[in-house]
Structure formats: C-alpha cells, structure tokens
C-alpha cells in the first residue's frame, strides 16, 4: 500500500498548499450548523435534544463537497491520466483518496462539533471519548461510500446534481446509526450506544471493502 500512502501524502500536501477546497468545506459545515440551529430556534433547555440530528445532517451534507474535491483536484492538467498509466492497483487509489477524505472530514468535525456544543447549549466534555468514537466511525462510512460515488459523479455530466442523489439514500442507515449512537453516548455512555455503533461499524466494513473492490470498475475504462 505504498502507493496509497503516496497518494494520501500528495493530496494532503496539495490541500494544505491551496487550502481553498478544504476551507470551503469548513465554511459550509459551519454555515449548515448555523442554519439548522437558527431554523429550529429552540429554547436553551430543548436545544440539546437537537444536537445529534443537527450534527449528522451537517456532516452528511458537508461530506458531499468534501469527497468531490478529492477528484476535482485530479481534473486540472488531466492528472487522473497520469495516475491511471501508473502500475497502480485501483484499490490503492481508492484507499489513498478515502484516507485523504477521512482527514478532511475529521478536520471539519473538529471545527463543527465544538461550535455545535456552543450553539445548542450542550456540554460535550463528559461524553467526549464516546463521541469521538462515533464521529470517527461515521466519518469512515461517509468517506468509504463517498469516495466511490464521487469518482462516479466526477465522470458523468451532471456531477453536482448526481452525487447527492446517489449518496444520500445509501447513507441513511449510517445517519440513523450515527444519530442514535450520538444521542445515547451523550446521555448514557458508550456501553448503551452499542447498537448504533454496531451499525456504523458494519457499514464501514461492508462499504470499505466494497469500495476497494469495485473502484476498479469505476476508474478503469
């Protein structure tokens, strides 16, 4: 998997250098959070109940531009052709891009989650380890499916319209698992959240493997 690491390093270096698409994703995350919080206009004692749903809807929607940028950056100068002429296993390309997406999503989560705690009057510190686990598992699932379908959408005409259409229905079980797990983790700790965590873990494993195996069919013409 040296190639995957090379791709991950290259993607992160480019993102760090330009910071344009990554900052776009951050800003979108914060904006969505603000919009949802204002739209609910909940009383301070009712607001905490909204946190799990608001958080995960935000992440699912910011996941879309986040995974798209992984393939947008290959479009300039036809860099994708450069990658595809290499003796590169498509699975390695998938792994590298997926890992880069996980990093970008994690960075977004690091920004959005504290803000959500602030806007919705939730003290996140007690449940933090459990919360981080849920965030990570959810992140992996979004990246796993998102990387696969961002590649599909990038190669079709109506790419901006198509990606949410393809991804959102498939992500619903992840959304359900993540929201229930987040709620339980904050209320009752990690142990009680096992059902939701199991769903997330299953999702990650199934679609991580599926994405790795199917990626070749998407990128190789």
């Amino acid at each position: 998997m040296r190639a995957a690491l090379a791709i991950l390093a290259k993607d992160l270096r480019i993102e760090w250098r330009t910071r344009e698409s990554v900052s776009g994703v951050f800003v979108m995350g914060v904006l969505l959070l603000v919009v949802f919080s204002i739209a609910h206009d909940a009383r301070p004692d009712a607001a905490p109940a909204l946190l799990p749903a608001v958080l995960w809807v935000t992440f699912v929607f910011t996941g879309l531009p986040a995974v798209q940028r992984a393939f947008l950056l290959e479009r300039e100068n036809d860099c994708l052709a450069g990658l595809l002429t290499a003796p590169l296993d498509p699975g390695a390309l998938y792994a590298g891009k997926c890992a880069a997406n996980v990093v970008v999503l994690a960075a977004t989560q690091a920004v959005v989650v504290p803000l959500a705690g602030l806007f919705l009057h939730v003290d996140l510190l007690p449940g933090l380890p459990g919360l981080v686990l849920v965030l990570l598992l959810g992140n992996l699932g979004v990246a796993a499916l998102g990387t696969l379908f961002a590649a599909v959408a990038a190669r079709t005409r109506a790419r901006d319209l198509l990606l949410p259409l393809l991804l959102l229905p498939l992500l619903v079980p992840l959304l359900i698992g993540a929201v229930t797990a987040t709620r339980t983790v904050l209320d009752a700790g990690v142990g009680a959240a096992l059902p939701g965590l199991r769903v997330l873990a299953a999702f990650d494993v199934v679609f991580g493997v599926a994405g790795w195996l199917l990626f070749g069919y998407v990128v190789r013409d």
Partner: protein
C-alpha cells in the same frame, strides 16, 4: 530489446454508439518513431489512449512487448510512458514534488537521483521549487516528458506534443525524440501538423475515420506527405 514493442490488429473502440476506431492495424518496433497524422476527430487521441492502456479496446487484439495487453498487468504499464495533451502534473506542487510523487508511484529504484537527473535533462533545475502553475507551456511540456521518462519506459506515447510550442521549443523536442530513438526507445506521437512530423519520424501513418489509411516508411518529403494527406482526407470525405 527483441521482438515487436507494439502490435495492434483490428482495434475497435466505441464511444456510445459511434465507432471512433474501426479496425486499426499498427506495428511498432524498438528504435522506431511513428508519427500518427490525421484531422481532428480522426481518432488519434483515442488510439493513443488505447495504446497507453488508458482505454480498453472493444474489439481486436493488442499486444505489448509480446504480451496480450487486454488484461493490462502492472508490469506492462511500467514499460509505457505517457505524455498527453496536458502535463498530468499537479499545478500546486513544484516540479520536484511532482516527479518525486510519480517516482513513488512507479516504484523507481533510485528515485532521488533519477528526479535530479531528469530535472537537469529538462532544463528545469532553477524552476524546480516553483509551483507548476507558474510554468510556461514549453516548461510544462518538458516536465511532462520528464515525468513520462522517470521509469525508463521502452515505449513512449505522446499526444500532440508539438502543439503550442514555439520554433525553438519544437526544435528542442525534435532533438530529444531523436535522442530517444538512438537510445532504443520506441516512440509514437500524434500530430495534425504535417511539417513537424517529417523531420523526426521513421514512419508516418495517416489515421482517417478510425482506420490507418496510409503509411510510409522512412523520411518523406513534406510535399509527399501533404499530397497523401489531401488525397486521403479529400477522397474519403
């Protein structure tokens, strides 16, 4: 290297319903430089991408270095160098970083030294630390060529390498291709500029409507090529 580098028989490639390549036959041996001529839309880029294993043929047979290329094992890819319309280099990374990345991807053994060697060869040492975004067309071209040669490929495929180059840059490119030929590489390039093809090619071919319509061994006078071109394109149009 013995044996044919490339052998294509009846290669077909469709796009949707249309047949872009309708049965191409082509042989290339080591030390040959084949220039593929043809009008825009004749299928030159598609053919080159099929030869580079970027596209799979929908019909026909393609063998590279004596092996069937339809499975496209990584070993075959290691021996092919590709220079497309665009440089395939990340605009926000420097030349050195781009080459280092590709050296990792192609598992080039002496990566550091090889990158330095090619930067010197391409005349990009001074600009090596600047982002590729700031390069001129000629510099990008040389970088793309350096990238393609990193892994010492036996077959080099170039799509319209002369387009957008001024006279000096074009002459320099011709010299580089000649040097590659002498070193035993096989080169196939496409161009729609008949003037450029003549001096450096060992064989010329015209691609028209998805088939090779005319070939000529050895050097040919510009007039001969132009006449053949006009005949093929005009007659069949």
């Amino acid at each position: 290297m013995i044996g044919p580098v490339l052998r294509a028989r009846g290669v077909v490639r469709r796009f949707g319903r249309a047949r872009v390549l309708a049965g191409v036959d082509l042989d290339v041996d080591a030390g040959e430089v084949v220039a593929l001529l043809g009008a825009n839309g004749a299928g030159k880029t598609t053919l080159l991408r099929v030869l580079a294993l970027l596209l799979r043929p929908n019909g026909g047979a393609l063998s590279l270095f004596g092996e069937d290329a339809t499975a496209a094992p990584p070993a075959l890819r290691r021996r092919i160098g590709w220079v497309g319309h665009e440089s395939a280099c990340y605009p926000d990374l420097s030349a050195a970083e781009n080459l280092a990345f590709y050296a990792r991807l192609f598992e080039v053994p002496d990566a550091g030294a090889r990158v330095a060697e090619l930067l010197a060869w391409a005349g990009l040492e001074e600009a090596a630390r600047r982002p590729v975004r700031t390069y001129s067309r000629g510099m990008s071209q040389r970088l793309a060529l350096a990238r393609a040669l990193l892994h010492r490929p036996d077959l080099l495929l170039m799509d319209e390498p002369f387009s957008g180059l001024d006279r000096d840059a074009a002459t320099a490119l011709e010299e580089r291709i000649a040097a590659l030929r002498t070193a035993g590489h096989a080169v196939v390039f496409t161009t729609h500029d008949v003037e450029r093809a003549a001096p450096v090619a060992t064989r010329l071919a015209i691609l028209h409507r998805g088939r090779i319509a005319w070939t000529h061994e050895g050097q040919a006078a510009h007039a001969v090529i132009a006449a053949a071109y006009a005949a093929v394109v005009v007659r069949r149009a």
